[in-house]
């Protein structure tokens, strides 16, 4: 049994995905949540308060993904993070759609999202670094190659789901992870390939 505040937040998330932040009216939220506008106003003073509450929860979940750094000391660590990121972007699909609107009207939220995004990029870079010292990934042949790899991975992570939906293709965790692993594969050493085949391949295929 969700309490009213949680119910409002859940309804708002759905509406944001369907109509976009700018187009959602407080009356709509109240109707869909099954309460009166007055009741809504009691819990959230204005639209700004609702948006902040919704995005606070969202950003907390997003930064929670950061907590799983190096919980397993092998390639599975990458895999776990891919799974977490996929789950996040799939269930919070309204997030990307409204990003530009958020950037214009709620700069504080956008700043926080930016900070977490940067941290995820740093994590990817550090994971690549660690695996290089462990001998699973080739050291950089050209300067900045690993930085580029991390950025390509972040690009894929962020835009894979919307692009798949746009092209009418199936969105599954397995495809998502395969796309990301395929980015890393060209950089594996023999040892890396062996570990990949032993540990990761059985999980995704």
């Amino acid at each position: 049994m969700l309490d009213t505040k949680q119910k409002i937040v859940a309804t708002t998330e759905k509406l944001f995905y369907q109509y976009g932040i700018a187009n959602v009216r407080l009356q709509q939220i109240a109707d869909d949540a099954g309460i009166s506008v007055g009741n809504l106003a009691y819990h959230f003073k204005n639209k700004e308060a609702i948006v902040n509450a919704v995005y606070d929860g969202l950003l907390e979940k997003f930064s929670g993904i950061l907590n799983t750094y190096m919980q397993q000391n092998n390639l599975l660590d990458f895999d776990t993070q891919f799974s977490n990121l996929f789950l996040f972007f799939k269930t919070n699909n309204y997030f990307l759609n409204n990003l530009w609107e958020i950037e214009r009207t709620y700069p504080a939220i956008k700043a926080e999202w930016e900070a977490i995004n940067n941290k995820i990029l740093i994590q990817l870079k550090k994971r690549i670094e660690l695996n290089t010292t462990k001998g699973l990934i080739h050291p950089e042949e050209q300067k900045g190659a690993h930085e580029l790899l991390a950025q390509s991975m972040l690009l894929t992570i962020t835009y894979w789901i919307p692009q798949q939906l746009l092209r009418g293709k199936l969105v599954t965790e397995a495809y998502f992870k395969k796309a990301l692993w395929n980015l890393l594969m060209p950089y594996f050493t023999n040892k890396g390939r062996r570990e990949f085949n032993e540990i990761i391949a059985p999980v995704i295929f």
């Binding site: 976009g20 700018a22 187009n23 990307l96 759609n97 409204n98 990003l99 530009w100 609107e101 950037e103 214009r104 956008k110 930016e114 995004n117 050209q142 900045g144 190659a145 580029l148 390509s152 690009l155 894929t156 962020t158 835009y159 919307p162 692009q163 746009l166 092209r167 009418g168 796309a179 395929n182 980015l183 594969m185 060209p186």
Partner: protein, 219 residues
């Protein structure tokens, strides 16, 4: 052209703004304030017409966006069709520059793609097809360069499709992610560097030399 009666009662042809003129101003407004926040009144004011006149040319806001998207699509298609000719690195660079300028002109669409495709399923359909077509062009470009010897063939062959996808996604979303990360999204040099850096890992020695040549001539 609308003909009105002046003070003398004679019918004199008066130059009223054409469809194209209104469209240009609509584009400017969209680029400035974002597609969601622009009302028909704003466009009408910017083009010095009444809302009624606007309605004569364009039934509603959806039609305006649709027309603008058609324009964008056509211009992109004519650009990318040239890819089929002989995509040497010099040509690729030219294509990228022109693509960038096009994105700059219609930036409201690129900065808000997800929102617009959500709100207009018809545009979403068209954009999906257009994206698929673009992907094929890029795959062709990569294939050609592999056979020419300037790219190393990725193994397995699946990688070609994925590299093409990454390349195309990067081009389409560069402005969006730069804007959202708060960096300058109208910097052509940054755009070119970012896109080329995706291709460099695939370059053979010959390709790298050609790219160095490109950088020198670009200054």
């Amino acid at each position: 052209m609308l003909k009105i009666k002046d003070a003398n009662g004679t019918r004199a042809p008066v130059m009223k703004p054409t469809k194209q003129y209104i469209l240009e101003h609509a584009l400017k407004q969209f680029n400035k304030n974002g597609f969601v926040n622009v009302r028909l009144q704003h466009i009408a004011d910017a083009a010095f017409v009444s809302v009624g006149h606007l309605a004569y040319h364009f039934k509603n806001k959806d039609t305006i966006v649709d027309t603008l998207y058609e324009e964008l699509k056509q211009q992109q298609e004519s650009l990318l069709a040239e890819f089929r000719v002989v995509p040497l690195f010099e040509d690729i660079q030219q294509q990228l520059i022109r693509l960038f300028l096009l994105q700059k002109k219609y930036r409201f669409f690129y900065l808000d793609t997800l929102e617009i495709t959500r709100a207009y399923p018809a545009i979403k359909q068209k954009h999906a097809q257009h994206t698929k077509w673009k992907l094929q062009q890029i795959e062709f470009m990569l294939q050609f360069n592999i056979s020419r010897g300037s790219f190393i063939s990725p193994s397995p062959a699946q990688h070609l499709k994925e590299t093409a996808w990454l390349f195309q996604t990067a081009i389409d979303t560069w402005m969006y992610s730069r804007n959202v990360l708060g960096s300058d999204y109208l910097n052509q040099h940054d755009f070119l560097t970012a896109i080329w850096s995706l291709l460099l890992p695939w370059c053979s020695d010959m390709g790298l030399r050609e790219y160095a040549q490109l950088r020198i001539s670009a200054g």
